[in-house]
Amino acid sequence: MKTILRIVVVLSTAFAMLPATAALNVFACEPEWGALAQELGGDKVSVYLATTALQDPHRIEARPSLIARIRSTDLLICSGSELEIGWIPLLLTQSGNPRVQLGAPGYFEASQYVVKLEIPKVIDRALGDLHPGGNPHVHTDPRNIARIAQALEDRMAQIDPANADGYRSRAKSFLGRWQVALARWEQQAAPLKGVPIVVYHKDFSYFINWAGMREAGSLEPKPGLPPTPAHLAELVDRMKIQPAKVVVYSPYNSPQAAEFLSSRTKIPAVMMPFTVGGTDKAKDLFGLFDDTIGRLLAVVK
């Protein structure tokens, strides 16, 4: 027992404590929410990104380093709608942090504040990895970002009332710039209307809905299941009759399936940034939509 106590004491001095700053500790499940929190919080928040654009947010290991971060988190921002069902609940129960448990003010699910698409009428695992609450990838519609920003502003002001005025004024400035950008994007995306598009996973549904594009197929045979040769062959045949204009995939997807389809059908395959950090140009939320629209226009025109 004595030896164990001694080990505990030695270890506790060996580990640096987390910097005890006054800033609000934000744990962002996906990079887009980290970017949004940074826009609204400025130097009043310290944002930790749990994942990068190169990771599939459906499949994240509940790593020890993530538990350690949640332990000291004041505000957890996730997409919700069961996107993070495979890792966040486990991190929460292991963290011993009541501030961010489900229902606490420190638990924020972005998808709760927007109208969700693709709410399944039939829920059965034979149909693939469905999200009973609807498609969770809500951030690909720029209008949703504005709605979620307003909800997040309220939440940040509630958790950290001392800096509420700061959050309010930053949110106002952000939303103002966002509306200007939104008007520009709407104009720029006009040529995308009605354009048939093949996706890898159903993670662009909100963008497709916003831009008025038409989803003509997906590389995954069923949501969450990797592309199979049989499904790709069928897709190639379908594209020969009714060709799509573009095939898109995300940085966390292997480009192989999209390139295969592209090589057989001459439909250009394009990697979308998908989230902040997905491409060099997608440095922030503005860059994310600039680059997303730019990449599509480059091949659709």
């Binding site: 027992m1 164990i4 080990i7 505990v8 270890l11 506790s12 580990f15 640096a16 404590m17 987390l18 994942t51 990068t52 190169l54 990771q55 599939d56 499949r59 994240i60 290991e61 509940a62 790593r63 020890p64 380093s65 538990i67 350690a68 971060r69 332990r71 000291s72 919700g80 709608s81 069902i85 495979g86 609940p89 486990l90 129960t93 292991q94 963290s95 011993g96 942090n97 009541p98 448990q101 489900l102 229902g103 699910e109 998808s111 709760q112 504040y113 927007v114 109208v115 969700k116 709410i119 695992r125 990895d129 009973p132 609450g133 609807g134 969450g224 299941l225 990797p226 966390y252 292997s254």
Partner: protein
């Protein structure tokens, strides 16, 4: 409104007065404004309703607990009779740790319920239904949600945090069976009735420290079912540290110390004449486990390829009294042993859905001193199972997981647990999960 406007129009037309025309436009404007205002309110209401309608409450099946079922079935081909299975050189554990029956068999089916009880507690019940039609409680515990400062308390029956693999449910193991070290030192898997207090440090490097106090209902404590006494019969202290390095490697290492005081812990053996006798041990048993796990995936994205390295080292000291033929002549003498064992395994997913793995097991019978033999009262031949022998096993497996909910595995092993023969084992197994099954630990 409209009538008013029409009347104003009629009056204006009749009188041809310009100020009446202005009044009419203003009236119309007011009407329009009111209409726009009402329309705007309706749009806002509709939007709110749509958001409400599309937002399913974020809970597990509304108020029902999350329910899941694990099914697994095995076809086993064993070159040696499983009824003669034993791990030589080590005291037999209280339960069966053998490779199971030959031919087709249903593995343990699991039924799990979990939900938040209220804002303070979460409850989990995992029942296992054995192929022999008996139901057991594998885990059944409550866990705190609202303690601050990184503390959590678990109470009930749970897999003890001793070592790494012991806390993982069998269906999530990377091989069909447990490592030999887990078999001899923990009787396959130790689930304790008791309480666990765990603290997670506020450091950027993951660090936890915890203690468990238990009933001692299983090996290495004894007798089976636990002692008839108040207080604590089994204690465990553990700590883990873990973190990330590079652009895709996560690691965790842990140290645990399990201390129990077995009383009349029995095991069967054959004496020098070949007659089966029941021996029993009373004294102290102390077990140290050092474990390490390393997971690699390019950019932490395990979808396409990933690698997992896992190993544990066990060391146990027991000292007390050994009674030979407890139900007969009952001769008692001092007994001490220092034994150890380890396993190391690697599992590599080389393409989506397909993994290969290799495991090496080795136990070291170490040193034992048996007063009954040393004094000449009995001979070493009276304790054949304790004769010094270092068991080893090599295992290779390949598995295919068409989705996160199903897995089919083929495993080969060369098991040298018995001192005289090698058991060549082949297992073909399926493991599937139905329903809302919780995420798995790192």
């Amino acid at each position: 409104m409209y009538r008013k406007a029409t009347m104003a129009l009629a009056v204006a037309a009749a009188l041809g007065l310009p100020h009446a025309a202005i009044a009419q436009t203003q009236d119309e404007l007011r009407t329009l404004r009111e209409q726009v205002r009402q329309l705007d309110r309706r749009v806002t209401d509709a939007e709110q309703a749509a958001i409400q309608a599309s937002s399913r409450p974020a809970s597990e099946s509304a108020m029902n607990p999350a329910v899941s079922v694990i099914l697994n079935g095995i076809y086993s081909n064993l070159s040696q009779d499983p009824n003669t299975f034993r791990i030589n050189g080590f005291t037999p554990t209280l339960g069966d740790v053998g490779p199971g029956v030959r031919g087709f068999s249903l593995g343990e089916s699991e039924l799990a319920f979990a939900a938040n009880i209220d804002h303070n507690f979460r409850g989990t019940l995992i029942a296992s239904i054995s192929p022999e039609d008996s139901i057991g409680v594998e885990e059944g515990y409550i866990q705190t949600l609202s303690l601050s400062y990184g503390f959590t308390i678990k109470a009930g029956r749970f897999f003890s945090a001793v070592g790494y693999q012991n806390q993982i449910h069998a269906h999530a193991w990377d091989f069909t069976d447990a490592p030999l070290a887990n078999k001899v030192f923990l009787g396959n898997q130790l689930n304790e009735d008791g309480i666990q207090l765990k603290w997670v440090a506020p450091t950027s490097l993951y660090w936890d420290v915890g203690v468990e106090a238990g009933r001692g209902r299983q090996f290495p404590a004894g007798p089976a079912g636990g002692r008839n006494k108040n207080g604590v019969s089994s204690g465990n202290v553990f700590t883990h540290i873990g973190g990330d390095f590079g652009t895709g490697t996560a690691w965790q290492t842990g140290l645990s110390y399990l201390s129990t005081s077995p009383q009349d812990r029995t095991f069967d053996d054959a004496d020098s004449t070949g007659t089966t006798v029941t021996n029993s041990f009373s004294g102290r048993s102390r077990l140290w486990v050092l474990d390490g796990i390393l997971k690699w995936a390019p950019n932490y994205n395990p979808t396409y390829t990933n690698f997992k390295l896992q190993g544990e080292y066990f060391r146990r000291k027991e000292n007390g009294d050994l009674t030979f033929d407890a139900t007969g002549t009952a001769q008692t003498g001092g007994f001490t042993s220092t034994q150890s064992g380890f396993y190391l395994q690697g599992v590599y997913q080389f393409v989506p859905m397909w993994r290969v793995g290799y495991r090496y097991d080795r136990l070291n019978a170490g040193t034992t001193s048996n007063e009954l033999v040393d004094s000449g009262a009995l001979t070493a031949a009276d304790f054949p199972i304790l004769a010094k022998y270092n068991p080893t096993r090599q295992t290779a497996m390949v598995d295919w997981s068409p989705s996160e909910f199903s897995r089919v595995r083929l495993q080969f092993a060369q098991d040298k647990s018995r001192s005289d023969v090698t058991d060549k084992q082949v297992f073909l197994q399926y493991i599937v999960s139905l329903g809302a099954h919780g995420a798995h630990k790192f």
